[in-house]
Each structure stands twice: as structure tokens, then as C-alpha cells.
Chain length 154, copies 2
DNA sequence: CAGCAAAATGGGCAGTCTGCCCAGGAGGTC
DNA sequence: GACCTCCTGGGCAGACTGCCCATTTTGCTG
């Protein structure tokens, strides 16, 4: 990951539709170079692809909630298996600290959220839970700043 | 968002590099239809684009941590402004419940993480904090299940 | 410092896709 | 029945991709 790699990724972050040719023009390098860089980044697993970015709010899932679950000894995989079956569960992390599992979920409205939370929480091996609703997202998911740092140096 | 929209998005989720033409073939519809659907989805804000998916682990940021911050009355925007300046802060949500702010951050190694956490936590208006380190991610960020549901019905 | 391997350059070529256009047909509404 | 929206199938010029090549630059090694 040198500066050129980072600049390329920044460019693609800002304008993902750019083709290889256009990227090479913007960066002032040859087309083959950009192609090689992208191949390498993809090969190393840094660049995983270009998945469509979907706006859950626009899709009708306007509510996001987080739940911290405390799980009975050795039962985490059972709980995870169950969580995976709930479509509204968008993400889950096993963590240190007070809780064992941090779960992010979405819902269409309050009733829906209640239903989802019940599904997540009402489960034999879940000992204790603490749920919070996301009121706003002051920092949208981002990687840009990290890239910028690499892009500047080199 | 009808079934065709969802199927299209599913297709793009699985193979983002697919062009309009190939999508139309796979879905068994005319090319113009796919084009129109994508334009509409993008217009409605559902489809935000195709940003590059970067693997933070492969980039060297192998550690993820979550912090719950309790903020002094009315000082949230100050804290948020500060958080935005820390590149390692990848996401932050204002929440109900015990904490006021849920922050996700990444770091290269333990020392780095310590440094980042200090930056996030050592701040005048932050009252109380609770930090957890993500040990694993049993449910990777996903939207697919929600799409599948729409795709099946109509 | 000479020498080598990896990387970047600039160019060329066939195949394919995009963006845009049009006329016709299908399905639903007033 | 008139109308409107959506999908269809086709055509066209322009642009890009993937791939190839020979040459030059770069950066490291002995």
C-alpha cells in the first residue's frame, strides 16, 4: 500500500464508476499501471470488490438499534446461529467487556423493531441484554480518512 | 421496490462487476428495463453507488473496538466534531439508553489501539466511557437477507 | 558501480458494453 | 374506447476493457 494505491482507492471511493482509463488520466499514470495496481490490491485482499451501497432508510428500514447480549457459558455459537437467521440482524461482533455480543439490527417502524428485538433477545441462552436505539449517525461509516493519510505520505 | 428490483440488487450484491447487459440476461428481461430500474433505484436514493469495499484487516488495521461514551449535557456536537477528526473513528451513532454515543474505531495493534482510545476518551466533555474490543465478527455486515425477502415475494 | 528484476510507459487490436434512440405491444385506469 | 406507463427488441456511434508487446525507469543486490 503506497501513496499511489491509496490515491487510487480514494479516487474510486469518491467516484466508483470511474473506469481504469479515466483513473489513469486523473492520476497521471499509464493505464497498465492502474490495472496492475488494482489487480494487486484485489489479489492481496485489500480491495474486495464494488458491492452496491444500499440506503436502508430509503428501503424503508428507518430504524437502527444496537443490542448488547450477555451469553451463557459456551453457548455463543448457538446464539449466533440463531441471529444469522434473522434478516434484520445486519451485523454482530463478539466483544470483550460487559457484554459478549454486540448486535446491530434494523426495522421498518417501532412495532417492527419491537418484533425484531424480541426475536434477538428472547432466547434461552441469552442472560442479560441492553438495547439502544440509534437516534442519528453523526459519523457515517467511513474509511476515507485512513486512506488520506496513506495517500499523503507515501 | 418490487421483486425485480430486489433480484437485481441481489445479483449486483453477489457479482458487482456485472454490466447492465449481463444483468438483463440473467434476469431474463430487456436491457432497457434493467437500465430503467437502476436509474429509478438510484433516483430514489436506494442505490447509492458502488463504492470500493476495502478490507481493513488486509490494510493492516486488524483491531476493532467499540466505545460507549456518556456526554455532558448539550456537548455532543463538540465531541462529535472532535471524533470526526480522528481517522481511526470509522463510525459513530447517537443512541438512547445508558450511553449517548456508540463509536466504532480501528487500530493497527495494541499500542495503536491504546493511542486511539485515549484520543477518543480523554476529552473534557466525556463523562464516562466503556470500551470493548471486537474479538471476532460472527455476522459480517450484510443486507442480503432483507433483499432476499423482497425478491421472493413480489 | 555494474547488473538485474520488477514496475511503469505508450501504443495497438478485437470484442464488448454503454448511452441513447425509436416503434410496437402488454396491462391497468378513467 | 382512449390513455398512460412500463417492458420489449432492435439499431447506432462512441468508448472502454482485457490482452499483448517492446522499451524505458526505478530500485535493489552483489
Amino acid at each position: 500500500m503506497d501513496a499511489l494505491d491509496a490515491q487510487l482507492l480514494l479516487l474510486l471511493t469518491d467516484e466508483p464508476r470511474l473506469g481504469v482509463l479515466e483513473c489513469s488520466r486523473r492520476l497521471g499514470v499509464a493505464r497498465g499501471t492502474v490495472q496492475a495496481r488494482m489487480d494487486r490490491l484485489e489479489g492481496r485482499g485489500v480491495l474486495r470488490g464494488f458491492p452496491p451501497a444500499l440506503d436502508l432508510v430509503a428501503m424503508g428500514y428507518g430504524l437502527t438499534a444496537f443490542a448488547v447480549l450477555e451469553i451463557a457459558q459456551g453457548k455463543r455459537s448457538s446464539v449466533v446461529a440463531r441471529l444469522r437467521e434473522i434478516p434484520e440482524v445486519c451485523e454482530a461482533h463478539a466483544t470483550t467487556g460487559e457484554g459478549d455480543l454486540l448486535v446491530r439490527m434494523v426495522a421498518r417502524d417501532n412495532d417492527d423493531l419491537q418484533r425484531v428485538i424480541d426475536q434477538v433477545v428472547d432466547f434461552e441462552w441469552v442472560r442479560r441484554t441492553s438495547t439502544s436505539i440509534a437516534l442519528s449517525t453523526p459519523v457515517e461509516p467511513r474509511v476515507r480518512p485512513l486512506l488520506e493519510r496513506v495517500a499523503r505520505r507515501g
